[in-house]
């Protein structure tokens, strides 16, 4: 079953988080949205997929390739864009190496000392990241995630951990509303998930992000962490959003009490006492429902 939706309802960052946590293999397709004239369940304009805008491939939860619709995506284009090949060199290679796949071409370029393997890998990686960072700023458009569809075997694929991509994506968010909606209450605290050491392996955090991480404790509210680090609300929101989406921290009520943050626009509801019910009553209910 493909995963379908609209970036308006489920953002690119959330999709990357899902793909990362579920360890998915397949390709995410993002399309131009064509309005159908109908409304969805929450009153948004229903859209059907139009032309493909981008596709991003993943293997076992890692980003491996990405391309914009209509943009040159072969190795020569990537190296040309990265400044590793001049326009003339790119044209020459294209003329001579017609019908040659990326891997074979890479071997030829390395053998001819045109370029090193390291430069090829970093250029391909940067190309992939540029595409994904670009689409992190998209806020609308139908998407489909197709399981087990991968680029053809001749493409050079460089696996990239998604946690770093998610954190970088959060650094680039400009819309304050998006951050406010995600984290409505700064009086909540943060805690580490299980196995934090494993999760933080290979993560590239900025100095500011590390400063926030050093204060993570269910006793410290996000507001207190911001104050201790002399950060503005928007700065702390951006950092917490990135860390949380990447699965590095979790939101908790202050003082370590379990329970979720209060949803946007809601005042904390009063706690309602539990009913006093005996186990025998629950067992009777179970027996009755089994009989139905």
């Amino acid at each position: 079953m493909p995963l379908k939706g609209n970036l308006r309802d489920f953002s690119t960052t959330q999709l990357l988080n899902l793909i990362n946590l579920a360890g998915k293999t397949g390709t995410l397709f993002i399309f131009e949205g064509i309005r159908t004239g109908e409304k969805d369940a929450i009153g948004g304009d229903k859209m059907k997929p139009g032309a493909e805008r981008a596709r991003v491939a993943f293997k076992s939860g890692k980003l491996i390739a990405a391309q914009m619709g209509g943009e040159g995506n072969d190795l020569v284009s990537v190296l040309n864009k990265a400044g590793k090949l001049t326009d003339n060199q790119a044209k020459l290679i294209r003329d001579r190496a017609k019908n040659q796949g990326d891997k074979a071409l890479a071997m030829r370029l390395i053998s001819a000392n045109y370029i090193s393997q390291k430069e090829i890998v970093s250029s391909v990686q940067q190309h992939t990241l540029d595409v994904v960072y670009n689409l992190l700023s998209w806020h609308e458009g139908p998407f489909t995630f197709e399981d087990n569809i991968l680029p053809d075997g001749d493409r050079i694929l460089v696996p990239i951990d998604l946690e770093n991509v998610i954190i970088e994506g959060a650094r680039r968010i400009k819309e304050i509303e998006e951050l406010n909606e995600h984290l409505p209450d700064l009086d909540y605290a943060l805690k580490f998930p299980e196995n934090p050491r494993e999760k933080f392996k290979g993560i590239h955090l900025s100095v500011e992000e590390w400063r926030v991480v050093s204060f993570v404790n269910p006793k410290n509210t996000i507001r207190q962490i911001a104050k201790a680090n002399n950060m503005s609300e928007i700065e702390i929101r951006r950092i917490v959003y990135g860390l949380e989406q990447a699965g590095l921290v979790e939101l908790v009520r202050p003082g370590g009490k379990s329970g979720p943050p209060v949803p946007p626009g809601k005042t904390p509801p009063k706690s309602i006492p539990k009913p006093q019910v005996q186990k025998t009553v629950v067992n009777k209910l179970i027996d009755r429902i089994r009989q139905l």
């Binding site: 009153g43 946007p264 009755r288």
Partner: protein, 181 residues
């Protein structure tokens, strides 16, 4: 008249399948407070009528004990009913339409509101799992950020067996919690 009544709440976003869920298992015709949806509203495109106060279903266990099922209104403008309906609940079911990702944010928000009302056990029922566009339960768990300890169950609200399975799982959770405390 039964000497003890027990109450469970079925909640979730607009059009998640709450009324169908109760109708599938209630021994009485569901007492519903559905009203026609005004013309030219977004909801009108989804269905003709919606619950404005509550749905009410009943399962009689014996002369002494009755289970009441209360369905909450899904639209935000009727959320003043939520707290009233949550009072005294033994547990609750959060219904999610697996084919409508545009409602997931609201489903999560409703779930968090009910968790904040009372620390009673709950389960999440992923409705319409039989439909082609349904998100699978593993993806829904991540999308809704539901902890592994909470049951997220595939469901078809129009199937009595499926509804029974959801209610039984909720009751097992309630029993487990009683045994732990």
């Amino acid at each position: 008249m039964a000497s003890q009544t027990v109450k469970m709440v079925i909640t979730g976003p607009f059009s998640a399948g709450k009324t169908e869920f109760i109708s599938s298992i209630s021994e009485i015709d569901v007492v519903t407070t559905e009203r026609g949806i005004s013309e030219n509203t977004a909801e009108k495109a989804v269905k003709e009528s919606t619950t404005v106060a509550m749905d009410f279903g009943r399962i009689t266990v014996d002369d002494e004990l009755v289970l009441y099922l209360f369905g909450t209104p899904g639209q935000r403008r009727f959320d003043f009913m939520w707290e009233i309906l949550a009072e005294g609940m033994l547990g609750f079911v959060v219904m999610v339409d697996s084919t409508k990702p545009e409602t997931f944010r609201e489903a999560k928000s409703i779930l968090e509101t009910f968790r904040a009302y009372a620390s009673t056990p709950y389960v999440v029922a992923a409705n319409k799992q039989d439909m082609q566009d349904a998100w699978n339960t593993d993806d829904l768990r991540i999308a809704l950020r539901i902890e592994d300890s909470v049951k997220l169950l595939p469901c078809n609200a129009t199937s009595k067996d499926s509804v029974k399975a959801v209610l039984l799982e909720l009751l097992y959770s309630i029993l487990e919690e009683m045994e732990e405390s």
